[in-house]
């Protein structure tokens, strides 16, 4: 018996074969004439400077962390949503308590500024400081 998941498997296989074939055909028909300049990393015409794997803001990591928690909450909420109609007010109150706990976490993050995207805080030069440096 071919289940619906089996059909998905066939579909996925078809999609994969299609993608592989196109990439392979492209590999055969296209020219290949690499030069030193072509193989360089594009940096707006300048020579590449330093390691390409630059350190990025740790905020991205924090966002991924918060996302993970809420992702689990979404997954837990789905079974509740599906069984909700049969449960009446009881189901409603259960869901509300769950959501309240979720909102509490949300409010905490918000209050503590974890959802704030860190902006650079530029220090505008002050006139008297510049003058003081000049006189020194």
């Amino acid at each position: 018996m071919l289940t619906e998941f089996g059909k998905i498997l066939i579909f996925i296989l078809f999609a994969a074969i299609f993608v592989i074939i196109t990439l392979f055909v492209a590999k055969i028909v296209r020219p290949n004439r690499p030069t030193f300049e072509k193989l360089k990393i594009y940096e707006c015409g300048e020579n590449p400077e330093g390691s390409p794997w630059v350190k990025f803001n740790i905020r991205f990591y924090v966002i991924a962390l918060i996302f993970l928690i809420f992702d689990v909450e979404v997954v837990l909420l789905f079974p509740w949503a599906l069984a909700y109609k049969e449960m009446g007010f009881y189901g409603f109150s259960i869901g509300i308590i769950f959501l309240l706990l979720l909102v509490l976490g949300m409010a905490y993050e918000w209050r503590k500024g974890d959802l704030e995207w860190a902006r650079p805080k530029p220090k505008p030069p002050k006139l008297n400081e510049i003058l003081k440096n000049k006189t020194n």
Partner: protein, 169 residues
């Protein structure tokens, strides 16, 4: 051997081979991507067992969440290729004994368990039953899970915040 078996072995091979790559490769980005395949294979096995909800949750939470977090962590580190994965201390004998015992226990469990096989159809979906018992029999656990996640959220955020301020200083 029917074709369920063939598909099972396919997923099993994917899982085991990619898991092997995860622990042996010296490039931690390769490791992370092999882990993607491992988790994928496991979710395929879940589908074969008729645990559709679990399979999708496996992909949504492990692949879509935890592995992304892992990848971000990996990319934050500067040294990515040729990491020395050996730890400083190597205790070969205790390790061998430990893994031997674990293997023995797993083997024993596998052979002694009275595996039940029913000659029925695979249930069309598990999620409704899951939802129902989650908000009736196991409602306390359902709410405690929310609480646990709340604690995890607060804890994780505060640790990350501390590291951030340290980095800024």
């Amino acid at each position: 051997m029917n074709y369920f078996d063939i598909i099972f072995y396919l997923f099993a091979i994917i899982t085991v081979v990619s898991a092997f790559i995860v622990v042996t490769t010296r490039n931690i980005v390769y490791s992370a991507y092999s882990l993607l395949l491992t988790l994928f294979g496991i979710s395929g096995i879940y589908v074969l067992l008729g645990a559709d909800f679990l399979a999708v949750v496996q992909i949504m939470v492990y692949v879509g969440g935890i592995l992304i977090l892992l990848l971000f962590g990996v990319m934050l580190t500067n040294k990515i290729t040729s990491v020395d994965i050996r730890t400083g201390t190597i205790h070969l004998l205790p390790a061998a004994v430990g893994s031997g015992i674990l293997l023995g226990i797993l083997w024993a469990v596998m052979t002694w368990t009275d595996w039940k096989t029913y000659d029925t159809q695979i249930p069309s979906t598990t999620i409704f039953g899951l939802g129902k018992i989650l908000i009736t029999n196991y409602v306390l656990i359902f709410e405690l899970l929310a609480l646990l996640l709340l604690i995890a959220l607060i804890g994780a955020a505060s640790i990350a915040r501390r590291e951030e301020t340290e980095e800024n200083n």
